[in-house]
């Protein structure tokens, strides 16, 4: 058992190393694609926490992403805070925002909550577009400075890549810890059987709100990172469609582990860039691809892989026994 764990850590580290070395010799374009994919990964991870762990499906994640982004941009541009503080404040602020809303929304069960989240998403997008004093209206907010800490400014795309990568790795680790913690278990208890969870002392409303708060924190970080990376925010980015993309990503990757979020995000983000040369047919192929993948692999790539592994493993294990 221990051995297995050790080897899987080694493999994970190797994967990380490959990833970390990847940008060498990569152009600005591909780096930006990767950077946005990493930021998207944080949002998809937030869907993992809510949907994968806690069983609650939200379509408001892109809205929370926007809340984080506009919050960070406002703190830096209007209030003059240094980016580091803005990053933390946006994370905490979005988390709090989501947590408080969770208390209202999680009085609703199952898909009623999902419906309310669609409403929240639409309302937030409407605010991003029209609340001029705060979000700059449709024109958006420009000239957000790059992230800087201790006087070091992350000017280049590559520097940003490593910075975002580090944050992604950290959040991944935090999610693993969460997964094995008592909070994580109460999430999963609610997902698998809410009534049984209540009977084992899990407070549904509070626990779901915490899950929503954590997902808000992830979206908040992602939002702040996006604001610093792109330097420009507008309502076009934080849309309901974007939220649906997150769901597509997590479902294609698989909801059973945060690794599914990585797989889903990378596949969808990179698939979009790979089908780029098809120009006019790009979105058609892309949509068809999503549909086919889902039909072929309803449990996501990770779920399908797990099932495949288990059948192979069982065969291997029962084989010699039977003989």
């Amino acid at each position: 058992m221990k051995n297995k764990k050790k080897s899987s850590i080694i493999v994970l580290l190797t994967a990380l190393a490959v990833f970390a070395l990847a940008p060498l010799g990569m152009g600005n374009y591909m780096l930006r694609v990767l950077n946005v994919a990493l930021i998207t990964y944080l949002c998809v991870l937030s869907v993992y926490v809510l949907l994968g762990m806690c069983g609650q499906n939200s379509f408001a994640q892109a809205g929370l992403w926007g809340v984080g982004a506009y919050m960070a941009a406002n703190l830096v541009l209007r209030a003059g805070f240094p980016p580091v503080i803005a990053l933390f404040a946006a994370t905490a602020g979005t988390a709090l925002f989501a947590f408080v809303l969770g208390f209202a929304f999680f009085r609703l069960r199952q898909y009623y909550f999902t419906f309310a989240s669609v409403g929240l998403m639409t309302i937030l997008n409407g605010l991003f577009m029209n609340w001029e004093p705060v979000t700059g209206g449709a024109l958006g907010m420009q000239n957000i400075p790059k992230f800087s800490v201790f006087g070091i400014m992350l000017e280049s795309e590559k520097a940003n890549f490593y910075f975002i990568l580090i944050i992604c790795v950290l959040t991944f680790v935090v999610m693993r810890i969460l997964f094995y913690s008592s909070i994580g278990r109460s999430f999963m208890a609610i997902r698998d059987n809410e009534i049984a969870a209540n009977c084992m002392g899990v407070n549904s409303l509070l626990t779901k709100s915490i899950a929503f708060g954590i997902s808000g924190a992830l979206c908040g970080i992602a939002g702040a990172l996006y604001a610093f990376l792109s330097g420009y925010l507008s309502y076009q980015t934080f849309t309901y469609q974007q939220s649906t993309m997150y769901l597509i990503m997590i479902m294609l990757g698989g909801t059973i582990s945060p690794v599914g979020a990585i797989i889903g995000t990378m596949i969808i983000s990179l698939l979009q860039e790979f089908v780029r040369p098809l120009a006019n047919y790009m979105q058609l192929i892309y949509g068809a691809g999503i549909m086919i993948l889902m039909v072929v692999q309803p449990e996501g790539i990770l779920g399908g892989g797990k099932a495949l592994y288990e059948t192979l493993h069982k065969r291997k294990r029962t084989g010699p026994d039977a003989a």
Partner: protein
């Protein structure tokens, strides 16, 4: 078990990254495909001009998604201009080729498309999309990548951004002069003093609404009512009743094509058949007229372009477009035509395809007669110098006034 996932993951990541690496090096087969889609016309003609490597110009537009219409016009126009230039000998003895990338209609997509073009060292300049948001999103990118880029947006915000950014040119008349001319016509010639303003909150339209208000204020008039709506609104009853309440003499509209047509139809349906309407440039666009039909008759608009333009170059292009594609040529197409021609002009002046040289040459263009208007690029913003005040009669936009102004330097 976890090991399997992780192995799978790592192999996937390395695989995809390998592929990314390949595509980012710039000469991957991926690029070849783009060529075939965007420069079919070029391929036909290269034989007649020269066998030299083509000069490649990027075009970041929107091919798919909600704003795909822009891309349809843009790629059609790109084919015409490529063919035109190549059949007349090309630029610097080399044919041109337009490489199209899809910005998806989102900020992220616009930046990705732009960067993909800018990263390709064989591309000498980039034509930007017809949307101020996209243009603003790429403003800093242009500075970083140091490649001549053009913006099609007409907002004054964009003008200011361009004036600060040596690499970004607003090859379009800033809406300010045009809207001022339209309001001047309405107030001074037609004598209206009571206006109600309806506008979309989307970037261009809200900018236009601001300009309308400013132009009115200049003449000592305040709009009696200002109502706004979001793109995609289909029922304007509440907006129209709000405007009706203040009993305006004329209605000013700043919005996009679909909404312009719907607003016009509903204003007419509610009995205001003779209400004069003054609209932003989208109101006189062939797309809007095609949708709104006779409801648009009598609408005056500050347009950059009408298909039956008096401009010689423009008329020829408009006719060619109509023949080739079977629908009227809209502003979105004419703009691409001008942008590419001006870039080619800059390349000719520069005498080589060095990105910096082309940029410097750009500022030397001070009196270029394009299909839409005359361009003065001595400063980066507000390069288009003219526009039209048009009135729609019998579902055709008729030019009332041609506006032309010198650039203040």
């Amino acid at each position: 078990m976890k090991k399997a996932f992780v192995l799978f993951l790592s192999s996937m990541v390395s695989l995809s990254l390998a592929a990314c690496g390949a595509s980012s090096s710039g000469n991957a087969p991926v690029m070849e495909d783009t060529k075939t889609t965007s420069s079919a016309a070029a391929a036909d003609n290269t034989g007649s001009t020269t066998s030299e490597e083509p000069i490649r110009i990027g075009l970041a537009t929107v091919l798919t998604g909600e704003r795909a219409m822009e891309g349809e016009y843009a790629s059609n126009a790109a084919k015409i201009i490529t063919e035109e230039i190549n059949s007349s000998g090309g630029i610097l003895g080399r044919p041109i080729e337009i490489v199209i990338e899809d910005g998806l209609g989102t900020d992220v997509g616009a930046v990705n498309a732009y960067r993909k073009l800018a990263d390709d060292s064989s591309i000498v300049a980039i034509v930007g999309s017809d949307n101020s948001n996209d243009n603003i999103a790429i403003a800093n990118e242009a500075k970083q990548a140091q490649i001549l880029s053009t913006a099609q947006g007409s907002s004054p915000t964009l003008r200011d951004i361009c004036n600060e950014n040596p690499w970004l040119f607003q090859l379009r008349a800033c809406e300010e002069t045009m809207i001022d001319a339209l309001i001047g016509y309405a107030v001074e010639e037609l004598g209206y003093t009571k206006f109600a303003l309806i506008h979309d909150t989307e970037t261009n339209s809200s900018d236009q609404a601001r300009l309308f208000t400013m132009a009115l204020e200049k003449r000592g008039i305040k709009p009696l009512a200002t109502v706004s709506f979001t793109t995609g609104t289909k029922d304007f009853t509440s907006h129209i009743t709000k405007m009706q309440q203040v009993q305006p003499e004329a209605i000013i509209g700043a919005c996009l094509f679909n909404e312009a047509a719907i607003i016009a139809e509903q204003i007419r349906a509610f009995g205001m058949t003779d209400m004069p309407i003054f609209g932003s440039n989208a109101w006189a666009d062939p797309v809007t007229i095609g949708l709104g039909g006779e409801a648009l008759n009598g609408v005056c608009s500050a347009a950059a372009w009408v298909p039956n333009t008096t401009n010689e170059k423009g008329a020829a292009f408009s006719q060619k477009y109509q023949e080739l594609y079977g629908h009227e040529c809209a502003k979105a197409a004419a703009q691409i035509y001008d942008h590419v021609s001006i870039i080619c002009e800059a390349i000719t002046i520069a005498g080589n395809t060095d990105r910096a040289a082309i940029r410097d040459a750009m500022n030397q263009i001070t009196d270029y007669h394009g299909a839409i208007t005359i361009y003065d690029c001595s400063t980066n913003g507000d390069c288009g110098r003219g526009g039209l005040v048009v009135r729609i009669e019998n579902e055709v936009a008729v030019v009332l006034q041609e506006i032309y102004s010198e650039k203040d330097k």
